[in-house]
Symmetry: C2
Subunit: 220 residues, 2 copies
DNA sequence: CTGCAGTCGACTGTCGACAATACCGCGGTG
DNA sequence: CACCGCGGTATTGTCGACAGTCGACTGCAG
């Protein structure tokens, strides 16, 4: 056991994670104002760490500051979703390719475990969570710290979108469950085999497929 | 005059910008510890806004927090540079393509002005700044808020790298000045013409060219 | 009833203070 | 001479408080 010795506590970090979860859980719907005193009171802390958490979430695009400094949950439109997918299509193939080249066995464990969990998952929420987690795992497996910084932005946006479009996403997830699992499994195998080019293409295809499935307008 | 009245002040924002400039200017070399009391004292403010600025810079990868919470200027290696370029190659073609599709005249003004400034620029520092600014302008012209969030990460990393490799970059910039201006001009014209595919390819090529020029190891 | 001034409350931005903690150097001891 | 314990110092994380500002509500005049 590596005895990972005890990160000094940082409330802001915990708050950021918790707030992010709360938003995704629908606790704060799109457009909701996140006032610092309110959050501080609910969380039983002072305003300082709350402020810091909000700033962090803002750089991830999960809250927005208006001109007066109040933070709100942004409301996403269909265009926003297309925007997000466009960025994913730019970033994730790169991540998959890097992951294939790097071939870190430790990351493989995570990904494989995720696949198993996904095959066993029941609820759409669980499926959506695992889907994001898989893509997150691929980015982590790429070993690029900066790619991960960018991914943080995207991941939070995806979470936000999932939260705001829940009903539609639920239906889609259910419907696409097997397809998604198959696509992920293929990506995983390809990454493990070290075929970077194919991994890139699979990742790209997996994402562009979503464009077709999505309700609404033409994309890109 | 539209009478754009008056953003409520936010010291943290100013500090973030100023600190970022100071790091780029070499005021805080790689590995330097940025202690909050020291910064607060120098800036004549309290620690609170300094903390907030540091958090913002951390999410942009311009400072790192160690396990004890101290923030330092990260030191970049050749691998880091390759990593950054890889992300740029993923993101910027997308940005150029979007910019071509969107064709926002306002952004064109910025880009054209930048080109003129670059043709007139003298010092390598000026050239480097304008180069980053041009790419920044392309991302802004894409109109994608999230692409811009990701780009913020990259931009700060590029600035950091420029600061840390100054001597080599100076030589390169001088040497590549005409090539760069030509490449930018071509990109600009293509974006303005609305040819998205060609704009993407030009952006990709402009960046991959750097890979060949860079001193050191093979890339990708 | 409508419009306006004044007031109240809430919120943000900033500050100084305090506890906790880790580092550094010093002196004592085997 | 080497090693260990110890205090001083510096720094972080967190808190409560205050000023400035904005929006909403109320009450009054027309």
């Amino acid at each position: 056991m590596p005895l990972t010795p005890l990160r000094r506590v940082n409330l802001a970090h915990d708050i950021s994670a918790q707030l992010s979860q709360a938003i995704v859980a629908g606790d704060f719907p799109a457009g909701a104002v996140l006032s610092e005193p309110m959050l501080a009171k609910r969380l039983g802390v002072s305003r300082a760490p709350v402020r810091e958490a909000l700033i962090e979430l803002e750089t991830r695009g999960m809250v927005e500051f208006d001109e007066r400094g109040r933070s709100r949950v942004p409301s996403l439109t269909h265009d926003d979703l297309v925007d997000i997918l466009g960025i994913r299509i730019a970033l994730e193939p790169r991540a998959a390719g890097l992951a294939a080249r790097r071939a870190d066995p430790l990351a493989f464990i995570d990904l494989e475990r995720n696949l198993d969990a996904m095959r066993a998952a029941q609820t759409p929420t669980e499926l959506a969570r695992l889907d994001t987690a898989f893509h997150s795992g691929v980015v982590r497996a790429s070993g690029s710290r900066r790619l991960h910084l960018c991914w943080n932005v995207v991941e939070h946006q995806v979470d936000l979108w999932l939260a705001q479009m829940q009903s539609r996403v639920d239906a889609l997830c259910h419907q696409l469950r097997d397809t998604t699992v198959a696509a992920h499994a293929a990506m995983f195998e390809t990454i493990r085999s070290g075929d970077a080019l194919r991994a890139e293409n699979l990742a790209r295809k997996h994402l562009t497929d979503w464009l077709d499935v999505l309700p609404g307008a033409p994309v890109v």
